[in-house]
């Protein structure tokens, strides 16, 4: 069947498009993009004025928890959360149980994704077998089974040597190594950013230098191996500085920032709810100077990608003493509102840059399809409502877990609908797009 999206503002940075265009979808492909396209038997979808039609958003840092931790999230609930957040594809981290360090686990995840049939799922394999930091995982086999990158995320790659080998090997396959940058000796048993607020609350600190050490190590290994090194969930101003210098030096490095790191600071540890475990993540919420450095990095192009680090945890796991709670928050369904509200409407970035950060650059870094509305490309499309009034209700999240610090937040900008392979997989009834 054919669908004609009529009247939206199309933003497709890959093709240099920004304006009122119609988009014709034929089956699972984009057939035409142009002004005043003939209806020609297509089902017409009127896009309200001011709404955006963008290439499908891609979140390259998501924990789907399956296999092994289905009480937190499953591929089905995680992808339901993704499409409700405007994402047509997610890349999922290998720290499942068992670890995604072999083709069986990769195939299992892809099978679950096909069953759910919502967002596209791109598994990310482990760097090391069992993520134990000793032997390399079967990286080529993982790649063949569908993994688009490797990482030991959850932890840094154990040694500089192992990271070097992983980069060399991944370089052969043309996939990036994604690194959770952290010097574990500096982290110690820290649970919050080392600063005034952690000191006041008596929480053990994790200094920004702890992350920057990992960033610098990775950059040096990327230079040594001439392979692509990607910095996950960057939070510290020293890390941004390192990446900026490395890019100037022509080293193959890219990086991502999570919405909570461009929105919140460590002040959230104590207020409004003291010791709210939904303000506990790794890397931690840092001080205002770090948060501002993330915003500047997003603005000046140092930051390539906004990725959520969607990390679901069950309520019972979070309802414990702060130092015993697991790190992480869910992020898929709050990313677009936060990006609009905190970055676009504040004038920090334009819409084109937003689409680069959330769609084009993710597709390029992981070498996955999408990121564009080119004719013949898969019809993965996000329809966004930049002025929609959004109120986050944790209980209403599609994700199986509700661990968000943004419960009750009111923001401007949201998701109207999500189309994957020409098929509407999410329609926000509050936005008024009839699909």
């Amino acid at each position: 069947m054919k669908r004609l999206l009529k009247g939206g503002r199309v933003i497709d940075p890959a093709n240099g498009l920004d304006g009122e265009f119609d988009v014709l979808i034929d089956g699972d492909r984009i057939a035409r993009v142009g002004k005043g396209l003939p209806i020609d038997g297509a089902e017409v979808v009127e896009i309200p004025a001011g709404f955006l039609v963008t290439p499908g958003l891609i979140d390259i840092h998501v924990h789907l928890r399956e296999p092994g931790q289905e009480h937190k999230e499953t591929v089905a609930t995680g992808t339901a959360s993704a499409v409700a957040g405007g994402f047509t594809a997610v890349a999922c981290m290998p720290n499942t149980s068992p670890v995604n360090d072999n083709a069986n686990v990769t195939s299992f995840i892809l099978g679950k994704a096909a069953e759910a049939n919502l967002a596209r799922v791109y598994p990310i394999g482990a760097v090391s077998r069992g993520q134990k930091g000793e032997l390399l995982a079967d990286i080529a086999e993982l790649h063949k089974a569908g993994c688009v990158a490797i990482t030991d995320d959850g932890h840094p790659t154990a040694t500089a040597l192992l990271l070097r080998r992983a980069l060399e090997y991944a370089g052969m396959l043309g996939i990036p190594v994604i690194e959770h940058c952290e010097d574990t000796s500096l982290k110690g048993d820290g649970v919050a950013h080392e600063g005034f607020h952690a000191a006041a609350l008596g929480l053990r600190g994790i200094p920004g230098a702890c992350e920057a050490m990992g960033v610098e190590r990775g950059i040096l290994m990327a230079e040594l191996t001439n392979s692509h090194f990607h910095v996950a969930h960057m939070s510290a101003r020293a890390s941004i500085r390192g990446v900026r210098k490395a890019k100037e030096a022509g080293i193959s490095v890219s990086c991502e920032v999570a919405p909570h790191h461009f929105t919140l600071t460590d002040e959230a540890l104590g207020t409004p709810i003291p010791y709210d475990t939904n303000t506990k993540m790794n890397p931690p919420l840092r001080e205002a100077a770090d948060r501002d450095a993330m915003i500047r990095g997003i603005q000046d192009g140092t930051v390539d990608v906004i990725a959520t680090d969607h990390a679901p945890h069950h309520l019972d796991e979070k309802n414990v003493e702060f130092d015993r709670a697991p790190f992480g928050i869910v992020g898929l369904e709050t990313c677009v509102p936060l990006t609009f509200d905190r970055l676009v409407h504040t004038g920090i970035i334009g819409l084109r840059r937003m689409v680069e950060l959330l769609s084009l650059n993710p597709s390029r870094i992981l070498h996955v399809p999408g990121g564009t509305l080119s004719v013949g490309a898969a019809a993965d499309i996000s329809i966004l409502a930049p002025d929609l009034a959004v109120r986050i209700d944790a209980r209403a999240l599609r994700s199986k877990s509700k661990n968000t610090p943004f419960d009750g937040w009111e923001m401007r900008g949201g998701v109207a609908a999500t189309i994957v392979g020409g098929r509407p997989v999410y329609v926000n009834p509050a936005a008024g797009v009839a699909l």
């Binding site: 006041a200 309802n319 414990v320």
Partner: protein
């Protein structure tokens, strides 16, 4: 209507008429007037301890649970005596006998206790914020008896009481707090209390044991012990734990004593009537020399004695509950 001031001559700001909180989670939540109220009430409570029958019926029929997830002889016994002197029914649960070892969460433990309808829970826990967590899930009044590295409010109140007893004021006094500042809940409660009451607070320790941005609390920080002690009205020593050597916070206990240990020679820099305080338990020959701990200027045992009176005051003041309009 004019009324007699409860206790004259304490040199404190005017006391509020009530402690308008459900819980005592930290000094952080108290105003200067509320701190004055606790200290003034403690004066009356201290007198009870000097009677032949050291008991009043104020908390008759109230049940207080002392829930201690960390070993603590001093604080637990102090609370127990305070509760008994107020005629409360008390029950003490220590970690070894609790079901925590069986993997029960703090919230479940508290909910099970609440099913037995206690009025107050006195909580000691190794995790910072444990009392805040409990207060979100419990009807009972929660009294923080030390949570991780966060606060130990009754310790700071008894320290203040001890200083006021001797010096008749807190405002303007130079108080030097020396030792392991980083891991100390006593430090946090004390600097919050003393700065609210207008004292000039100095903190001192090796740079490895000074919390980040501690000066934002309104205190002066130094690693030069002479600078901290000079002209001090009060020198408060904090416990140095042997385990900290493993974290490379300092090289050895011997070296710590050499650089930071409180000796008579160092005390010569302080005011002649300086008060020596220590929240205990002391490491003699590490943070404090025996001659100082047992010397004439030491009020360390007064601190212990005053602990009971201050805890009685806190128990009594919180037992009244919170007024409707304040809770709304």
């Amino acid at each position: 209507m004019s009324t007699e001031a409860p206790e004259q001559g304490m040199g404190l700001p005017p006391a509020t008429s009530a402690l308008r909180h459900k819980d005592l989670l930290g000094i952080d939540q108290l105003s200067a007037g509320e701190i004055a109220l606790v200290l003034e009430t403690a004066v009356a409570m201290k007198e009870i301890g000097s009677r032949s029958i050291k008991k009043v019926p104020a908390l008759r029929g109230k049940t207080v649970v002392n829930l201690f997830f960390e070993p603590s002889t001093r604080t637990r016994t102090s609370f127990e005596i305070a509760e008994k002197r107020l005629s409360a029914d008390t029950l003490s649960i220590a970690i070894a006998s609790s079901s925590v070892v069986k993997g029960e969460t703090l919230i479940d433990t508290a909910r099970n206790l609440e099913a037995m309808n206690p009025d107050m829970i006195v909580l000691r826990h190794a995790s910072s914020g444990a009392c805040h967590l409990l207060s979100r899930f419990c009807r009972s009044a929660i009294i923080n008896a030390g949570d991780g590295m966060h606060e130990h409010p009754t310790q700071a109140l008894l320290d203040a009481f001890t200083i006021v007893e001797r010096r008749k004021r807190l405002a303007g006094l130079k108080v030097a707090i020396i030792g392991d500042l980083l891991h100390s809940r006593v430090l946090r409660s004390n600097i919050l209390l003393l700065t609210k009451m207008g004292a000039d607070v100095w903190v001192c320790g090796p740079p490895t044991l000074i919390p980040t941005d501690v000066t934002r609390f309104g205190v002066r920080a130094t690693s030069r012990v002479d600078e901290a002690v000079r002209d001090a009205d009060v020198v408060m020593l904090l416990r140095i734990q042997l385990e900290r050597m493993e974290g490379a916070f300092f090289p050895s206990l011997r070296e710590y004593f050499e650089v930071f240990g409180m000796t008579e020679a160092r005390l010569a820099l302080a005011r002649p009537d300086v008060l020596i305080m220590h929240p205990g338990p002391m490491n003699r020959g590490v943070e404090i020399a025996s001659e100082v701990a047992d010397g004439p200027r030491s009020v360390i045992l007064d601190q212990v004695a005053n602990g009971v009176a201050v805890r009685m005051a806190v128990l009594y003041l919180l037992a009244g509950g919170v007024e409707h309009e304040e809770a709304a």
